[in-house]
Amino acid sequence: MARMKFLCDAERCIECNGCVTACKNENAVPWGINRRRVVTINDGKPGERSISVACMHCSDAPCMAVCPVDCIYETEEGVVLHSKDLCIGCGYCFYACPFGAPQFPQAGNYGSRGKMDKCTFCNGGPEEDNSQAEFQKYGRNRLAEGKLPLCAEMCSTKALLAGDGSEVADIYRERVVARGFGSGAWGWGTAYERKS
């Protein structure tokens, strides 16, 4: 059984934000809601690295565990989705999520946040696949169309990978072998601080 995964290759991510606008474009995400964002560490210093982050569609997702109305569910492919009809906007999932994925359209306490919104792995929600109702609440259902999330498909440097976890792992492994440096393996560069 396939299990859908995101992986962002920090050696390749250049913080171009293509993934962010691709998501906005595909899912008609309004201003102020960011299903996906690019996080940069050591900004402007040697060692600067960027990584694109959205819902990671965890196995045993903490958001699912804490949701008081049980509106979050996992599909057979390991995609974590939720029902906006059931969501009460309490924000517990936001506290539980290690990635800051859940987004709320309004600011405020006690249910005034509005329905939670997050990355759906371009897989819509509980409504009928590719129905108008599904699109309006969750955005495009690309998986049902036989496509993968647009953020990863459009990544400018192929840093962001999305798809079947085992295939994503294969691709990343090939890269690490080809690189033979950095996070992959110790080599001349590490040993002698130079490459040739």
């Binding site: 474009n25 960027s50 569910y73 036989g146 459009m154 295939e167």
Partner: protein, 957 residues
Amino acid sequence: MLTKTGNLSANGTRLRKALSGSIGGAIDRRSFLKRSGLTAGGVALASTLPPGAVKQVEAQPAVSQSIKKVTSVCTHCSVGCGVIGEVDNGVWVGQEPDFDNPFNLGSHCAKGASVREHAIGERRLRYPMKLVDGKWKRVKWDTAINEIGDKMLEIRKSSGPDSVYWLGSAKFSNEQSYLFRKFAAFWGTNNVDHQARICHSTTVAGVANTWGYGAMTNSFNDIHNARAVLLIGSNPAEAHPVAVQHILKAKEQNNAPLIVCDPRFTRTAAHADEYVRLRPGTDVAVIWGILWHVFENGWEDKEFIRQRVYGMEDIKAEVKKWTPGETERVTGIPGAQMKRVARLMANNRPGTVVWCMGGTQHTNGNNNTRAYCILQLALGNMGRSGGGTNIFRGHDNVQGATDFCILSHSLPGYYGLKTGSWKHWARVWDVKHSYLKGRFASQKIMEYKGIPVSRWFDGVLTPKEKMDHQPDNVRAMVFWGHAPNSQTRLPDMKKAMEKLDVMVIIDPYPTMAAVMSDRKDGVYLLPAATQFETYGSVTASNRSLQWREKIIEPMFECKPDHTIMSLFAKKLGFSKELFKHIKVNGEEPLVEDITREFNKGMWTIGYTGQSPERLRKHMKNRHTFDRTTLKADGGPCDGEYFGLPWPCWGTAEFGHPGTPILYDPSKPVAEGGLNFRARFGIERKGVNLLAEGSYPVGNELKDGHPEFSMAMLKKLGWDKDLTAAEKAIMAKGVGDKSNWKTDLSGGIQRVAIKHGSAPFGNAKARAVVWTFPDPVPLHREPLYTPRRDLLPKYQTFKDRQAYRLPTLYKSIQDKDFSKKFPIILTMGRLVEYEGGGGESRSNPWLAELQQEMFCELNPRDANNLGIRDGQDIWVKSPEGGKVLVKAMLTRRVAPGVAFMPFHFGGHWEGKSQRHKYPQGADPYVLGEASNVCGTYGYDVVTQMQETKATLCRIESA
């Protein structure tokens, strides 16, 4: 619990497809079979589909029944990323990745992934408007064209045609670019220019004068073969993000060292193996510093230099002065690092050199570009796969617009402005030379270069008597797809705008031009269609042409640029002559006819073989081209290179495959091989300028030779190979005086190539450009230099008259501004925005990501000035301009250097100008335009503006 068990069918090949060409290693058959079985959702059926095929679910909603996919090309940078628009009943509803396009393999940056916003955006200009008493008033197209036309004709009568300035755009398609240049010729002025002047003009001049053509020699894809990549003044992670994909391939698979030379630790530098921080404006010194080690150790390619380079001895003499100590003194780069970089370049050949605006936008920009070329010549990296000078152009079609010479100093195809050049184009246009001459104020002015865009406002402000070849001041200004805030000296430009009789802005968005001045009337805003609302060809940076199809009909009352040109031509009275061989359907000229017309005249650079039919065939079969070599292997385009990269010699019928790598003698000319161009004579001071013993495979001449003419064909006895039809066409032209550039039959080119020779001759590249102010490229300090100790040793040029205008150098440098303005100011790009940002700041998906104009400042300087992160600061220029921006404290810039992005506009010296925009057409994000602080300074050959090295003072606000 809810469960979702959809008919999921995202099969494994989709991910492979997204990555093909950019991941390590090929997919072998075994792993392919294994993977195709691993389909998501366990839909077994999917595994039996052919690779790449996507199984659509049965139950599709009604909306997607009629979806049509239309292929176009991104309108932002010059990488040429394929865009697939999904159109439903005339509405652009979605974007899909174009995996088949060899340039981007489906990828996009933030801008490319959001181009659909053009169709659904709310901030577009919707209808023509004019400014009346400080208010925008809607007018009809007819009214606007009539009023503007009448005013222009009146100016023409009283001040001459040169008092109207036609500022074109690198956002035009090739057809529109060509038509625009032709339009200006028929109006009768050389006061026509576009962004190439302020983008890569110093590259085009410097590089073309070194070896023949001033363009990227290899391609983005060919970087896959590089063994080393050196970027100087280039930040592709922000300016050309998809290009980084190709660079990373070389880095990861060839273990190619990635060397980034930049005053800023850019997002590209973050991925570099070697980051070299130089002081802004010291590029020549950096390159000579590298070459010092190369020559000192004898690492240069001696045989390559002997056969193919002229003047390297003179370079050696200059380089000898750039010892590690002197290089460090001038550039700030430690000697040990220079040596390491030199060794990396010498040990990893072929290596490629990439540069962009960081190198070009200087008062000695042409020296920089030539120095880069000389580095590659010395290392023997030219004319080979993996090497070359990969010059990344800026706008999506700035290469094409440059080739069609929307430039004040040349006619299309770099023919220049000489009598012969005009006669050539008069023949192509089928009008009399005397007719064209009659359109101009005089033949002398007709053959003299016009005012460049970088200084159009000096054409307004400079007293008449100080200008040459310009009878009166510029009185009417047409901004046709140009953002003024990408230009320096904005306070002066504002004054000029207020002095003009009339200003016309033609753009899909109002741009900052609409709000910058305090004019109350005499401004027109005409809504242009975007390139997604029309069709035609576009040239990517690698010289490949791609054909865009129309995704949607023009929105609102917008019209495509070529249609607007035809409206103006009609009003101004030269429509009949302009469109003599171009069909006009109602208002709209037929795009294919324009392509065919330029195919008939662009012999110099081989834009002659790319017929609309061939280009459409390439786009349709783009999946058949190799992702590294760009060569089609089988299929309808077998043996051709994607997009027929120019030169694509001869006629379309001749079937040349295009030239993927310039000056590469390892292939026959007929198959895309080449050598350096013979453009500068055959001998100089007794030294042979022609190539020695180096020639493309299969060249019967087996040595250097001059460019081809009828006389040369006769001498070789090859004139017998010309067909009767070719001879007949030649006879109608200049007959026996024809050469490879002026022969409209293409016969001379065909015969030369038949014998394996390049039509433009076979010569050496010249390291010394004896026609330029600095024949050997020299380091010269910026006009506003903080390093007074380096003067007068590295002083700038003398003041001079150039392009009709007095141009200052030394008189500015002589004054010491460095005490009151101690911080170096440099400018550049952000990934989310492009150019002046009128378009991208109006796109909410992009605008949300960069909402505030800022200035990067090193924490050390900030602490000394008492400035804290995020606070408001004034950045003040020695010329009086000032901007109110947020401080961003970062070590990305060195102490003593500040950086501002130039995409913002709509605030002026602390005040928002939002109220001045037409209602509903104001960009979401406004900010101070950095170029209010942009100062004087122009390249000595091309009038390129200096944006990268000036001075400023920073104060708390």
